[in-house]
């Protein structure tokens, strides 16, 4: 995977753009959270490893995730999405929780790498990726989307 990091001040710039979008009322509805709830942006990597976009969490009360923005690296809005039932923020933001879920798929002799936010074929299908490496060095990818853990299907098509 190519590791090309975003510019040093990119996360701050993206967070400000996200705050402005929410404050302007351009996204969301009456239930949309206040700009103060905007969290630290997380880079979304394409399967090739390139920076695809930024995932900007928007917190609800009680350590839950109310919504998120997805912005292109230049700050252009891709989408603002709200959960009908806010999930625990840890499902999407806590590396330990995500790693623990991925390890449920771990086979004997495999070691798990650090989780990275990516997507399953379309940036709409956000998921955390964890690479499992066996003793022979062979790697396979496991995806974690909320409480769903799976290996990406080999076949093409819509959904799988």
């Amino acid at each position: 995977m190519t590791k090309r990091g975003p510019p040093p001040d990119a996360a701050r710039r993206i967070r400000e753009a996200a705050r402005r979008l929410i404050a302007s009322g351009a996204v969301g509805d009456d239930r949309a959270p206040r700009p103060g709830a905007v969290g630290t942006p997380v880079p979304v990597r394409a399967p090739s490893g390139e920076l695809n976009s930024w995932f900007v969490p928007v917190a609800a009360s009680g350590r839950r995730l109310a919504a998120f923005l997805q912005l292109l690296p230049d700050g252009t809005l891709m989408r603002f999405s709200m959960f009908a039932t806010p999930p625990p923020a840890a499902d999407w933001l806590d590396a330990k929780t995500i790693l623990r879920r991925a390890q449920a798929e771990q086979r004997p002799g495999e070691t798990a790498g650090r989780p990275f936010l990516t997507y399953d074929r379309n940036p709409d299908r956000l998921a955390w990726g964890v690479i499992l490496t066996d003793e022979g060095g062979a790697e396979r990818l496991v995806l974690v989307a909320g409480d769903t853990v799976y290996s990406p299907p080999a076949a093409g098509g819509v959904g799988g």
Partner: protein, 387 residues
């Protein structure tokens, strides 16, 4: 139709203030003043096309181009900061360049000409006849029009051509209607007491006046606006590959058909909960067949390839949800929004209200998905057959 010079400054004010109110124009435009009616810029055939108005914050800091000819369709052509416009200084510089390049040049009038819109030149005239034309700032001489046949609006590099003479008549007519509507808006009696020459976020916020900046709609119980209660529900996909099943479920639920995703998966050939699969691209037509069968043909379903924004807009206006396939994924669309005011030749924001079954067992409601940043492969519209 063209615009009186004394009205140009007001139009510029309203246009810039509307964009500022919508935050299309950023803070660099806050408290900027429009100083005058600006410099008329003519078409090659001599007709006034637009005015370039200086924008000032103390000193000149930018300019706005405001159409005075209906052929542009909308009044605001461009707004720029950082490039100060000083008509008098530019004229002096141009005259000096003309004297240097052509000794003994005679003229009795100089005017600004869009010789190859949006490129501008100074045209030197003597008794109404051109004696010299110099491109602005480079002060290169613009050659006479070449005598060769070519298609309209396909000029060569540095060729002079008339915007008005080459614009197709049907385009001109359509744009003229839009231009008149916009000018009527700014001539509304309620706005006459506003001084729009100062650009600010709140200039247009006056009582009893609502500026419609966006066109937005979502599904509800009927097409009657007075009953505008949202009427659509999100369903999360029950496996990581059942986005199509969940999308079909959402649309059928809207029409009060209740099928489980497991049943829909069976009908669509998506396997079982323990052994699920996605929908191969070779079978995208199955969605039409299955939805029609499961509604006993009460729904007439159509598959659209490469759907444009207008398809989504028109279906939502008719109060009908759509299924939207993007590469590798399926969701449903239950609303749209689009900005009504933006710069000429720029597409304003267009967004879709997407009920997305991803992530599994949850889904999200996306308000809004930027139409410019997604690839729309297929869409399914469904019309209820009347008996």
């Amino acid at each position: 139709m063209s615009v009186a010079r004394d009205f140009v400054q007001r139009i510029a004010g309203f246009e810039l203030n509307a964009l500022r109110a919508a935050e299309v124009l950023g803070e660099e435009y806050e408290k900027v003043r429009i100083r005058s009616g600006g410099t008329p810029i003519h078409d090659l055939n001599g007709t006034p096309l637009y005015h370039r108005l200086p924008l000032a914050r103390g000193a000149n800091v930018g300019y706005a181009d405001i159409a005075v000819h209906e052929a542009f369709g909308e009044p605001l052509l461009a707004a720029a900061m950082g490039a100060a416009w000083d008509e008098k200084a530019i004229l002096e510089e141009g005259k000096r360049a003309a004297r240097t390049g052509r000794r003994g040049l005679k003229y009795d009038r100089v005017r600004f000409v869009a010789f190859s819109y949006p490129k501008i030149a100074l045209q030197f005239l003597l008794e109404g006849q051109e004696t010299l034309m110099l491109e602005l700032f480079t002060w290169a001489e613009v050659p006479p029009a070449p005598k060769r046949d070519r298609k309209p609006l396909e000029p060569e590099n540095f060729e002079r051509w008339s915007f008005l003479d080459e614009l197709p008549a049907e385009v001109h007519r359509a744009r003229a209607r839009n231009f008149r509507r916009r000018l009527d808006l700014w001539d509304a009696p309620r706005l006459r007491r506003i001084d729009p020459r100062l650009v600010a976020l709140d200039t247009l916020r006056i009582r009893d006046f609502v500026l419609r900046l966006v066109d937005s709609r979502e599904l509800h119980y009927s097409t009657r606006n007075t009953d505008h209660v949202p009427c659509y529900e999100l369903r999360g996909q029950q496996t990581n590959v059942w986005c199509v099943g969940a999308s079909v479920e959402m649309v059928l639920n809207f029409y009060r058909y209740t099928y489980t995703q497991v049943r829909l998966a069976t009908e669509l050939g998506l396997g079982t909960l323990n052994n699920p699969n996605g929908l191969p691209y070779s079978r995208v037509g199955d969605v039409v067949t299955v939805m029609e069968n499961l509604t006993s043909n009460a729904l007439d379903v159509t598959l659209h390839t490469n759907p444009g924004f207008n398809l989504f807009r028109d279906e939502i206006r008719a109060n009908r949800p759509l299924i939207s396939f993007v590469p590798g994924h399926s969701r449903t669309v239950a609303g749209y929004t689009r900005t009504l005011i933006h710069l000429v030749n720029q597409i304003g924001f267009r967004g879709l209200l997407v009920y997305d079954p991803w992530p599994p067992n949850a889904g999200v409601i996306t308000r809004w998905e930027n139409f410019a940043t997604q690839t729309y492969q297929y869409a399914y519209s469904s019309v209820l057959r009347h008996v």
